[in-house]
């Protein structure tokens, strides 16, 4: 499958052998580059349940393609969410269903952050995305 452009960049950046510090710095950079979400959009309705940190998620369909926007009050989660958006934004609903997200984070060397024991809420974000796109 052809990866969206930001996803290819993500693989090039994270797909190499990195120290934990490098990985953390990159995650924070990716998080910082997420387009800001307006404060009035950060409502309880858009909050993802089940996260230790707050994550807000909004979804729009533009010409049949999904565009998610997200924000978080925690920097590393913001980075992880940014990597998630890099993979899924711009996909059609059909393509979105095909996305193997565990595999995606595996490619980035970040699969540990998807494990069910992690309470960082990334799994909850995925679930909410699927719900919104469902």
């Amino acid at each position: 499958m052809n990866l969206p452009e930001p996803a290819r960049t993500a693989v090039e950046t994270f797909g190499t052998s990195l120290s934990w510090e490098q990985r953390a710095r990159l995650l924070m950079q990716w998080g910082d580059r997420l387009p800001a979400m307006a404060d009035d959009e950060k409502t309880d309705e858009h909050l993802v349940d089940g996260c230790e940190s707050k994550v807000w998620l909004l979804a729009d369909v533009i010409d049949g393609h999904w565009q998610f926007r997200a924000a978080s009050d925690a920097r590393l989660i913001r980075g992880l969410v940014a990597l998630l958006l890099a993979r899924v934004n711009g996909l059609s609903a059909q393509d979105l269903e095909q996305v193997d997200l565990p595999d995606w984070f595996n490619q980035l060397g970040l699969s540990r952050h998807l494990s069910p024991s992690r309470s960082n809420g990334l799994n909850a974000v995925l679930q909410k995305m699927r719900q919104l796109a469902g």
Binding site: W20, E52, S53, R75, L76, N120
Partner: protein, 401 residues
């Protein structure tokens, strides 16, 4: 100052964790296990498992003997003497639910249940839901700035309508000992039942339920270096006699036909179905091991480690301790740093601490926090563990700031 734990070698997982690059500082969530327990489990399974209280055969008799021996050991651990006995449950949570169901018939609309603002969900939700079912009032005792239940407030809040008091002995978030003895006395003066959540307290001191004068004392095996899946509910004879059975099934019944049944008294009447036989036997081995540990030396070691932990944390810029922790654990937050970020980076460096709400969401909200990082200690921890934690913390803060 180097603090070495003479008990570390008794816990094989500490070595294994070290080889995995992990520093374990989450004993308040669950503790590592002594070799003595691992041996007892292996021995039980390798030499013949059997159900308890049912069979006349030899393996059954041996298992029952070991199971009942643990009942005595657990009662002795709490200095129960002849005043009551121990019921085994599947965990502390299960014990609180047993109490909330077993005592339900004694409550009437308008009665009051008193808990405190620092209760773990396990000692909050069963009472909250009982109150909803029966139209009771749940009274929440406030805390002082030091993180201790406010006794002055308690004097006004515990009264003639109080039917039950359920409070924690040692806070799993604040690390503060609670004034349970005067609270119990207050509740008793009004004829209320008294329930002590000893899940944390039992690990960090030897307590005497006769002196405490509580009706019930609850703890979980797995935090006391024992197997998981086992809870201990101590009850005074008179209090146990007022409990109604809550789960029904094998071995708790005296007589039954298709339509009616009579039930056993405590303890078996509250142990429906096959109990966690291996776990209980394992807990017995753990208690034997702990009885051989010099308690004064262990308490001193823990106190020294705790002081080192506190001192190291307050040295760091922006660190705010949550409450005034006295023992076992320290929870903290750092100005301008999100707990989730710090937790993430500590995890990356192999530091196993707990982040979040610690199963006490109302308390965390009351404190005006969104969460906290908790470092908690066991007898096997040493100053090297803390040094690794502090190094990781400094690295994480350097990255985040």
């Amino acid at each position: 100052m180097s603090l070495i734990s003479p008990w570390r070698a008794d816990f094989p997982a500490l070595d294994a964790l070290e080889r995995q690059g992990q520093t374990y500082l989450d004993s308040a969530a669950t503790a590592q296990k002594p070799q003595a327990l691992i041996d007892a489990l292996a021995h039980y399974y390798a030499n013949g498992a059997a159900n308890v209280h049912r069979a006349q055969h030899l393996p059954g008799a041996l298992a029952t003997q070991a199971f009942e021996d643990t009942r005595h050991k657990a009662a002795e651990w709490l200095h129960a003497g002849a005043c009551g006995q121990v019921v085994f449950t599947h965990g502390a949570t299960s014990a609180f639910n047993l109490l909330a169901c077993g005592l339900e018939h004694l409550f009437q609309t308008g009665d009051e249940i008193v808990i405190s603002a620092l209760e773990h969900h396990a000692n909050l939700l069963p009472w909250q839901q009982l109150a909803k079912r029966r139209g009771l009032k749940l009274v929440v005792l406030p805390l002082t700035a030091q993180g201790v239940i406010d006794l002055d407030a308690a004097r006004n809040l515990i009264g003639s309508r109080t039917r039950l008091l359920a409070v924690s002995q040692l806070s799993n978030v604040l690390g503060t000992w609670q004034p349970v003895a005067p609270l119990i006395a207050l509740a008793k003066a009004h004829g209320a039942f008294t329930v002590i959540d000893g899940a944390q307290g039992v690990v960090h001191g030897r307590h005497d339920v006769q002196a405490l004068d509580c009706d019930f004392y609850v703890f979980s095996s797995h935090k006391l270096y024992g197997p998981d899946g086992v809870g201990v509910l101590f009850g005074r004879h008179q209090a146990l006699a007022q409990l109604r059975p809550w789960q029904f099934g094998g071995e708790m019944v005296l007589q039954t036909d298709y339509h009616h049944a009579t039930f056993r008294p405590a303890p078996l009447g509250f142990e429906a179905g096959t109990p966690p036989v291996s776990g209980v036997i394992g807990l017995g081995a753990t208690l034997d091991y702990l009885n051989d540990v010099n308690h004064l030396a262990a308490a001193e070691h823990e106190a020294n480690l705790h002081a080192l932990l506190r001192a190291g944390l307050v040295l760091r810029e922006g660190v705010q301790l949550v409450g005034e922790p006295e023992v076992a654990l320290v929870s903290f937050v750092i100005d301008g740093v999100h707990n989730a970020d710090l937790a993430h980076l500590l995890t990356e460096q192999g530091i196993a601490v707990r982040a979040g709400h610690h199963c006490a969401i109302p308390l965390i909200n009351t404190l005006g926090l969104s969460g906290a990082i908790r470092v908690s200690l066991g007898i096997y921890n040493d100053s090297d563990d803390l040094e690794r934690f502090f190094n990781a913390l400094d690295q994480a803060l350097e990255l985040l700031r």
